[in-house]
C-alpha cells in the first residue's frame, strides 16, 4: 500500500442527475503510465475531472500519496485537449510554459529569472526552444501539444494527467512526448493518459484502465487486452472489435 500513489475507492459521480461513473475502485503504483480507455461516453473525461477535483463526486474517496487532492493539487499537472484552448490568445510559447510555474509561486509573486530559466529548460526538452517567442497559434498541432507538455514539466509534478494528447499530431511530436513521459515514469512519476483507441496501447502504456461507466478492468496491458474483456466494455461496437482483433493478433 505504501507505494500506492493514487487510490480511488467507491467513486460515484453524476452529471445533472445522470450517472456518469459507478463504483470505481482501483489503486496505482508509483512510476506507471496508465492508459484510460473505453467507448465514447464511458466517462473517461469525467474520471479525469474527478481526479483533478474539478467536479463534485457523489460518493467515494480519492487519495494521492495518502493525502487529499486539495493538499496535492500543486503537484498534479494537467495537459488539456487541444480543442479546448483559445489558440488566438495573445501569449507566446515561453509565457505559456511559464504558467507551469504559477502553482508554486502563489498569490502576488511574479515569475522571476529562476522560473524563466526553468521554462526554457523544459521547452528545450520538448525540442521547441527556437520557437519560444512565437505566438502559440503559429505552431503546428504537434508543436502545440509539446508546448503544453513542457508547461506540465515546468510544474515539477508527481502526477501527469493528459487528455487525448495524441489526437491530430505528427509522428515526431508523438514520439517526443511519449519519450518524455517514459523518462518521467522512470523517475517515479505517475502518468495518466486518456486515449481513444487501442492501436498503440501495448506500446505506450504499462497499465490500462478500461472504463464503461463502471470499471471493466484495471491491470497490465496483457491482462486487459483480451477479446472477452474488451467486448465487455465495447458491447455491440463490432467494427471496433474487428480493429482490435487486427491489432491483437
Amino acid at each position: 500500500m505504501l507505494d500506492d500513489t493514487l487510490l480511488i475507492q467507491n467513486l460515484h459521480v453524476s452529471y445533472h442527475g445522470n450517472e456518469a461513473l459507478r463504483n470505481i475502485s482501483f489503486s496505482t503504483k508509483k512510476g506507471q503510465i496508465v492508459g484510460i480507455i473505453g467507448p465514447n461516453g464511458a466517462g473517461k473525461s469525467t474520471l479525469l475531472k474527478s481526479m483533478l477535483n474539478l467536479i463534485p463526486k457523489d460518493k467515494g474517496e480519492i487519495n494521492i500519496e495518502g493525502k487529499s487532492i486539495k493538499e496535492m493539487r500543486e503537484k498534479i499537472a494537467y495537459v488539456p485537449q487541444r480543442s479546448t484552448i483559445d489558440w488566438d490568445f495573445p501569449i507566446t510559447v515561453i509565457d505559456t510554459v511559464l504558467i507551469g510555474t504559477y502553482p508554486k509561486l502563489g498569490l502576488f509573486k511574479r515569475p522571476k529569472k529562476r522560473e524563466r530559466e526553468r521554462a526554457y529548460e523544459c521547452l528545450k526538452k520538448v525540442g521547441m526552444k527556437e520557437y519560444s517567442q512565437r505566438q502559440i497559434g503559429e505552431l503546428s498541432g504537434g508543436q502545440q501539444q509539446r508546448v503544453f507538455v513542457a508547461r506540465a514539466l515546468a510544474q515539477k509534478p508527481e502526477l501527469f494527467f493528459l487528455d487525448e494528447p495524441f489526437v491530430g499530431i505528427d509522428v515526431t511530436s508523438e514520439e517526443t512526448i511519449i519519450n518524455i513521459l517514459r523518462e518521467q515514469r522512470d523517475e517515479g512519476k505517475t502518468v495518466f493518459i486518456v486515449h481513444h483507441d487501442l492501436s498503440k496501447a501495448g506500446a505506450y502504456f504499462d497499465e490500462l484502465l478500461l472504463l464503461n461507466k463502471e470499471l471493466v478492468k484495471y491491470g497490465s496491458v496483457h491482462e486487459v487486452c483480451r477479446p472477452e474483456i474488451i467486448s465487455k466494455a465495447y458491447h455491440g461496437q463490432l467494427s471496433f472489435l474487428e480493429e482490435m482483433g487486427m491489432t491483437l493478433s
Binding site: 500543486e74 488539456p80 495573445p90 504559477y102 498569490l107 502576488f108
Partner: protein, 292 residues
C-alpha cells in the same frame, strides 16, 4: 479653432481640465478592463452590465446617495442573475444576458423618468463630460486606482483563469470568485464612465481600444498597456473635437476609438487585412512562377 486654442482653453477653464482628466482616466480604466472582457468572450456581458447600472443610478438619486453605490449593486446583481439563469436552465448565456439587461434597463428608465427631468436621463445615457463635477472626477480617480492595482496584483491569476480555466481550477484558483471580482471591476469602470461617454456607449470604450490592441501584439501585458494608450488617445482627440465643434462628447470619443480600430484592422503588420492580402498575392505569384 486650432489645437493651440484648445490648449489655452484647458489652461484657462477649470471645467475643461476636469473633463480632460476624467476622460483620460476613463480611457485608461476601460482599456485595461476591456482586455480581459474581450479575451473571455464577454463583450456582450460588458454591454449588459453597463445598461444594468441604470436602475442603481436612479435609485441612488431617489435616496440622495452617491450613484456609485446603487450602480455597483444593480450591476453586480445583474451579473449574478445572468449566471444563475444560464446555469440553472436550458437558456444559453447570450439569451440570459439579453433578458436581464433589457429588464434592468427598462426598470431604470421608468424610475428615472418618475423622479427626474428628461435632461438628466439624456446625460446619463449619452454622457456630458464638459459638465463633470469635481466629486465625480475624484470618484473616477479612485476607481482607476482600484482597477489598476487589482489588475497589477492579480495579473497572473487573471491571465491563467482567462487562458486556461481548467488548469487554474485544477491547481486551486477560485475561478468563480475571480469572475465576480472582474464583474465588480467592470461595474465600477462603467459607473466611472457614465459622465464621459454615457451608459449606451460605455461598451465601446471597453471593447474597441482593447480589440485594437489585440490586433497589434502577442503579449497580454503589452496588450493591456496599448489598450490604455488607445483609450487615452481616443479620449483626448474626442474631447478636442467635442469642445471645438460643439459635438456630444461621448459619441465623438467613440468615433475616434473606432477610427483607431479601423486603422489597426487594415494596417496592423501581422493581422492587418492589407498586409495579409499583399502576402497572399506574393505567395500566389511565387506559386505561379514556379509552375511556369
Amino acid at each position: 479653432m486650432s489645437i493651440i486654442t484648445f490648449y489655452e482653453s484647458i489652461l484657462q477653464y477649470e471645467f475643461l481640465q476636469r473633463a480632460l482628466i476624467t476622460s483620460v482616466l476613463v480611457g485608461i480604466v476601460c482599456g485595461v478592463i476591456g482586455c480581459f472582457i474581450i479575451l473571455r468572450g464577454m463583450s456582450l456581458m460588458g454591454d449588459a452590465i453597463s445598461h444594468a447600472v441604470l436602475p442603481g443610478v436612479a435609485i441612488s438619486y431617489m435616496l440622495g446617495i452617491n450613484i456609485f453605490y446603487g450602480a455597483v449593486v444593480t450591476g453586480l446583481l445583474t451579473a449574478i442573475a445572468i449566471g444563475y439563469i444560464s446555469q440553472n436552465s436550458r437558456i444559453k448565456d447570450d439569451t440570459s444576458i439579453g433578458i436581464m439587461f433589457t429588464a434592468a434597463f427598462a426598470v431604470g428608465i421608468i424610475v428615472i423618468t418618475l423622479i427626474q427631468s428628461s435632461t438628466d436621463l439624456y446625460h446619463i445615457l449619452f454622457g456630458n463630460v464638459l459638465a463633470v463635477p469635481t466629486s465625480e472626477m475624484w470618484m473616477t480617480l479612485i476607481v482607476t486606482v482600484i482597477v489598476l492595482l487589482s489588475v497589477y496584483l492579480f495579473f497572473k491569476e487573471l491571465l491563467v483563469t482567462t487562458f486556461d480555466p481548467t488548469m487554474s481550477a485544477a491547481y486551486g484558483l477560485p475561478n468563480k470568485i475571480i469572475h465576480y471580482l472582474l464583474m465588480a471591476l467592470l461595474t465600477m469602470s462603467t459607473v466611472a464612465s457614465l459622465q464621459t461617454v454615457g451608459i449606451v456607449l460605455v461598451v465601446a470604450m471597453l471593447i474597441t481600444p482593447a480589440a485594437t490592441a489585440y490586433l497589434l501584439t502577442n503579449n497580454l501585458g503589452l496588450m493591456v498597456f496599448l489598450a490604455a494608450v488607445f483609450g487615452v488617445v481616443a479620449s483626448i482627440i474626442g474631447l478636442y473635437f467635442s469642445f471645438t465643434y460643439n459635438l456630444a462628447s461621448g459619441p465623438t470619443i467613440v468615433v475616434v476609438a473606432s477610427t483607431l480600430f479601423a486603422v489597426a484592422f487594415f494596417l496592423s503588420p501581422k493581422q492587418g487585412v492589407l498586409w495579409r492580402s499583399i502576402r497572399a498575392r506574393k505567395k500566389r505569384a511565387l506559386v505561379v512562377q514556379s509552375d511556369s
